[in-house]
Assembly symmetry: C2
């Protein structure tokens, strides 16, 4: 069946959450938002493109930082209201320069930092 981005379920802002997972190691790297046009741009270009809620603009991941996400596979969930992209991530995915945004764990009631920022090249 041909895929049509407009058949996904977007929220009242026209957005759908998208989880990015490392296609090689399997780590969950980040979650951000797409609108229908960002979905189409991602599939067309093979470069993961989100919608920035703070900037209200397309956010071609890594366009300024170089920390691009090359699309490996694009998945839709059962309810069609969440996306999963498997990516080849260059450098850190997180704006804090860490590989993943999920670097804080909660263990025995305390927050624990699991990873440090990556060294700049």
């Amino acid at each position: 069946m041909a895929f049509d981005p407009t058949t996904l379920k977007y929220d009242d802002r026209g957005l759908i959450p998208c989880i990015a997972q490392d296609a090689d190691g399997g780590d969950v790297l980040m979650m951000a938002w797409m609108n229908a046009e960002a979905v189409a741009m991602t599939l067309d270009s093979g470069r993961v493109t989100y919608w920035s809620r703070s900037r209200q603009a397309f956010w071609i991941k890594g366009e300024t930082s170089g920390h691009v996400q090359e699309l490996v596979d694009f998945r839709v969930d059962c309810d069609r209201d969440c996306l999963l992209v498997l990516v080849r991530q260059t450098g850190p995915a997180c704006h804090t320069n860490r590989r993943s945004c999920f670097y804080t764990a909660v263990r025995e009631g305390d927050e624990v930092e699991l990873m440090k920022p990556m060294a700049d090249k």
Copy 2:
């Protein structure tokens, strides 16, 4: 630092998205929503507990189906507006009886079904 569920960033419905990932195989299983009380219940009980938007009620995953999610690790992202739980999943995570909700891929413009429902016991 002691973790306080009220320090997370919830949306205007009081909800935060939570990604569930298989702690063993690394597959992303599903995404659902928690409120502050569901976060506290999950950490207290070790049983992943969401907030059902359709039923407007706590949803102790697997309580009726037996397809429970045992909490292995609880993670918070950099912006404190998304959660990741690593889980030990009994049976399928998806209501369609598939292991993961992300069983549909988009490849060369077409939707492709990647996995079939699991056989009932």
